[in-house]
Symmetry: D2
Subunit: 283 residues, 4 copies
């Protein structure tokens, strides 16, 4: 069975030695390890270790208890996870289906290892897309007047399904602060531009107006400032003078779904660590 | 001999027929033709034709005279050029040599077909780079106090050498309005970011701060608004959390010189037409 | 209404003039035009014109008749099509669904303008994928013994549905010569490698063995020689030493469906012309 | 001071723990670490560690001695290097200058940290390119008759200058087996195609004939089989039907020099490990 150990702390000598000895002494074999220090001379140290350990699920609690000492000694933020325990995911959508379709397809063929617990939308349009996958679809309308009420419904749903991870798959509504706070670095949004260019609404129209030669998409964790959260992944595609706004949207759809899918997969595999307003992605 | 006919006008039926008949009647064979209409239903029409015509240089003046009628009829902006007449180019640099080196090398091996008439710099540093190419190097210092004087020197030099095209190969000074006006859509700048992201100074520092996963460079014609002119070409390169600002600069250098070289080549071949604040690049 | 005129012939002066005068005289406005000559000095000339003409569908037969003279004069291969008449498409699949899913989704949202007349497979597996789209699904098993019989069934089906275009969306069977002959340059295959590297079976295993740093996919017209037909489009994606064969397959799926979708779209828009064993793609 | 420890051995539990404890006990701080296992269940394990250690150059010999025990215990291949000791490089060229120019420029501005000890060529053409850099240039003609003699001259030169690394920067001659054997995984060649496509001579002509839509370049270690050695890096660029062979060569030059430069840099930083006929590149 495969487990993951994630660590971040002030960099100083002996961390790798202590952690690897701990795993070795507990019979775990390191199958993959990544580390990063923001500054070789006294920055923040990040590490992600994938290890193999028989009967991990029986041992995981005791493993965590015993790691506490090391964690305290190095003043780490850390967690140990078993890959046997899948993350629970909620997908939020509005009317555009391309990201949703792509995520559902990848999930169905086993590319995305997660439990998709529910789909939430402010519209009814995509219910028929979700139906064949036997995933509950909740239509929660959001208007100026019902915003507060909708936020409560959302939180209740997320709570009911014990959701870990929220994917905004072209969900065109502002996420209220309470949800952002409750799911810090757990809400992934796909923005349909190459951030920080073209923040806010209608990025393809903005891109067309500016006459850029390349368009892009950006997946990021949601923070209170719109389109300003830590970037997980970006990608681009060439365009030229022959492309009208609708062409940019068509070409952009493919970029968006690729970027979102990659980001979601990395998140599900605990490959993304957040440091300030940036991400470390151990690929 | 190869000539080029460039046309823009209000789109309406019969333009291509009239122009191609004109060329055919004058014994010219169209070897390449590109056209673009900003809107099939009554937009602006752009056309670039490469044609072969014996003794073009003897005939070019009479060709121009006779085309005037068609030009008037369709209210065209147009020009007929012979490839035998090379554009005259000035390169402006400051201290960074990568774009300059690259342009000089491409020019020497015959990739860039132009006369590089002079190199102008606000520093002495790159004189030794230019020397082996036997191109005059002018050191024109620019300070707050001498800005006006420097602008005059620049204009006199450009005038003296009958320069058509100005390449800002990482020239880190503001171009004064008079020069921009005199060389409209003839001044190419390379900006070391993926515009419109990271306008202004220190774009790599800005990119590092924002934590982007892709950096880029943008070549554009210079207009009075800083970094806002028509974009000719852009390109990008992946970066990640391991890259410090210096790495972004190193990786960016390669993107900058590629993007600038492509843009300069298209400009020299009359492949770039400007429409409002955008370009049409006939590749 | 929009029509398309496609022309190829020996290059010589006057072709563009004659064709554009013809269209102009018949009241058609050229909205887009592309041309290419394999050699400015006497090569083969290719042209694709999109024109606007009121009541095109009533006039198309008489237009064709009258163009015959020009066609004869320049010894052209040519055709005039109305975009009102959609191509009829058959999709062939085996067990992998990613290309099929992608094509069906693009078709449903209106990206691919065609009538998908039927899906043919040597397996039953993907019937449930096709069902919601209300497209007939034919299961035609192919074994060594039934190969001849299957070929006949295929031809009958294609004939019954008056199919123009055949898309092999990861169909893992050899196409018999008779079908290739009957649908020359109308059968598009997606090969899961960057041709000409890794011809034949198991290209991802071959790529893994060779240790390439980039994998790709290739869409091409099917000819009698396996994986040797005219290439329509290729694209690539980076891989590295951490990727096992299954990762290459996963990453490759995304490249395959993008490359196939682009190729199909260009084919449906008559943007692909074949010259010898190469394609001219007017993008 | 920065040191590098490179390790490969049969994977088994405890390697990371042992190595990191060793470094920790000797006062070294790990600033960067990468590892890879070809198979989590008993494959080959590769590790590259960058560590900081004061007075490394005084201690390096004793460090190596003391590491021997660990090396024996795990049956490792290993080496410990100081970044203070630069690799000595020989560049081999023929007539094309683009890769040479690029390497020299990167070396001069400090991107490539190495001593370029000499340039060897079978032609005199590029002597003037090298001269300004004050690097010895040896003209060693190679003909069928003098092949054996030339090989001896090469080996003597490499020996005289104590060369570690040989860069074939478009050197168009076969490397004799003796040199390959003496400099195993130390000879980097740039091949002007996307291997394994277009092995051997005239790859751009081959690519043009096949009608590919993307061309590439490949840097690899030289082995006895032509163009079959472990691939270090590849990159590509789009082309289309408008590009003649000369255009492919022009576009390819830019790909070649980028790919070669990246590969050389990784090699110089000990980031490339060879496993069978593949590379592990720790980026």
């Amino acid at each position: 069975m495969i487990g993951r150990l994630l660590v971040s702390c002030q960099d100083r000598p002996g961390i790798v030695a202590a952690v690897s000895r701990f795993l070795s002494e507990h019979g775990a074999n390191i199958v993959h390890s990544d580390q990063h220090s923001t500054d070789p001379e006294g920055g923040i140290f990040f590490m992600r270790i994938e290890f193999q350990l028989k009967e991990l699920d029986d041992k995981i609690e005791s493993l965590r208890e015993q790691f506490t000492e090391i964690g305290k000694h190095f003043e780490m933020e850390w967690r140990i996870e078993s890959t046997a325990k899948r993350k629970k995911t909620a997908i939020f959508v509005s009317k555009e289906d391309h990201c949703l379709q792509d995520l559902l397809w990848r999930w169905k063929i086993g590319e995305l290892v997660t439990d998709i617990s529910l789909v939430v939308s402010n519209h009814k349009d995509l219910e028929s897309v979700v139906k064949p996958f036997a995933i509950p679809y909740y239509h929660v309308p959001v208007t100026k007047e019902t915003r507060h009420e909708a936020a409560n419904s959302h939180l209740q749903l997320l709570d009911k399904y014990k959701v870990d991870t929220i994917i905004l798959a072209r969900y065109m509504q502002i996420i209220p602060p309470q949800m952002i706070e409750s799911y810090k670095n757990q809400i992934i949004n796909i923005h349909h531009s190459f951030l920080p260019a073209f923040v806010g609404g209608k990025p393809y129209d903005q891109a067309y107006e500016r006459g850029v030669k390349i368009i892009g998409a950006t997946a990021h964790y949601v923070t209170e400032e719109l389109d300003q959260g830590p970037i997980i992944e970006q990608d681009v595609q060439r365009v030229d003078h022959r492309h009208q706004v609708n062409d940019l949207k068509r070409i952009g759809r493919d970029v968006e779904r690729m970027v979102l899918a990659r980001s979601v997969q990395w998140h599900l595999h605990d490959q993304v660590l957040v440091h300030g307003n940036k991400t470390i992605v151990f690929r």
